[in-house]
């Protein structure tokens, strides 16, 4: 990777996703290996546009995981307190 600003962005989103993974229902290990593989498979990207696209995708995944946690909790509580 050439652009240091982009590199920092990638590292930040990776860290944030790792942090999110601590509460993943299937376990941190499951999440961590998959996350690592997903990032490693894109490590060779050189084109800045493509890297930006990949970061966008990571942001999307982050939102999805947050939504997953919210829904899981919402459903559990709704079932209990209906």
């Amino acid at each position: 990777m050439t652009n240091p600003a982009l590199r920092q962005q990638v590292i930040n989103i990776y860290k944030e996703l790792l942090n999110l993974g601590k509460e993943y229902p299937l376990g941190y290990q499951y999440f961590q290996t998959r996350l690592h593989n997903a990032f490693a498979s894109q490590a060779g990207l050189q084109d800045e546009e493509k890297i930006k696209k990949a970061i966008e995708r990571a942001e999307y995944v982050k939102k999805e995981v947050e939504a997953l946690y919210y829904l899981k909790r919402y459903r559990a509580l709704r079932q209990r307190y209906r």
Binding site: K15, E16, N19, L20, E66, Y69, Y70, K72, R73, Y74, A76, L77, R78, R80, Y81
Partner: protein
């Protein structure tokens, strides 16, 4: 001009909702040692409600104070609260909960009433109940002690033009009910009020720099002490399996046997 909001959000550290609670061997309480704890989900809703009030900007939110009373580890939930957007927090330290027992709703309400007075609050947003003892009393008792209006189980909170009156929508049997009250008031949150945000990593880092005061019950002129004694805690009976019937006649005879028809 409307008055600026000074919000108090009390939070409780409870056993995580996803953990299956176990009764301890003495059958006096739930096992809390080595069990994952997190913030009471209804309290997350109230923090989120307070933060959204600030983001809306009118009326102005002057400051959001989070408070938790309990053992030293309650600091974790206060940090989460601050990562979600509370400005500062107070931790009222109690001796380890296993020894002295935690505060009862009335004790908490008395403590909150003192804090409201000392910190000059005009809005208290509480979770409607905690998921560990499900008392659903603290908000109501606090409103009673303060002599303020209360709106429990809020599913929507709106400020009226000018900002001195609050409309709160609650879900009641067969519809919704809307209450209107001037400030100051006590609001307790229901599940559908909002979608609490996830405390992001940068915000967790920033929250470490926010102010966290340590206090004790004595600082507020209160004593620990409970009126109620837990006699026994038991697990619900295990579910018994059902039986299959061959045909309609079989079912009817079975129902007669059970005295259902």
């Amino acid at each position: 001009m409307s008055t600026a909001l000074k919000i108090l959000v009390p939070v409780k550290r409870v056993i995580d909702y996803a953990v299956k609670p176990r009764v301890n061997s003495a059958r006096t309480a739930i096992e809390t040692q080595g069990v994952k704890h997190s913030m009471n989900p209804f309290d997350e809703l109230s923090i989120e409600a307070a933060v959204r009030m600030r983001e809306r900007g009118s009326p102005k939110v002057e400051d959001i104070l989070a408070l938790s009373a309990g053992p030293a580890k309650c600091v974790d939930v206060l940090r989460t609260a601050m990562a979600m957007g509370a400005d500062r927090s107070i931790h009222v330290e109690l001796p380890d909960s296993s020894a002295a027992g935690e505060l009862e709703p009335l004790g908490v309400a008395k403590l909150l009433a003192k804090v409201v007075e000392k910190e000059d609050r005009n809005l208290v947003i509480l979770g409607k109940q905690s998921i560990d003892d499900d008392s659903n009393q603290t908000g109501q008792m606090l409103a009673g002690l303060l002599g303020w209006g209360q709106a429990t189980q809020a599913s929507k909170i709106e400020f009226e033009e000018g900002g001195d009156k609050v409309s709160v929508t609650r879900e009641v049997d067969g519809g919704v009910e809307t209450l209107r009250s001037p400030l100051p008031m006590v609001i307790t949150t229901d599940l559908r009020l909002n979608e609490p945000r996830y405390a992001s990593l940068p915000n967790i880092m920033k929250a470490k720099k926010k102010k966290l005061e340590k206090k004790s019950l004595e600082d507020f002129g209160l004593e620990a002490g409970n009126r109620l004694k837990t006699v026994k805690v038991e697990e619900p009976p295990a579910r018994k399996g059902g039986g299959k019937v061959e045909d309609v006649d079989g079912m009817i005879s079975k129902l007669k046997e059970l005295g259902a028809i």
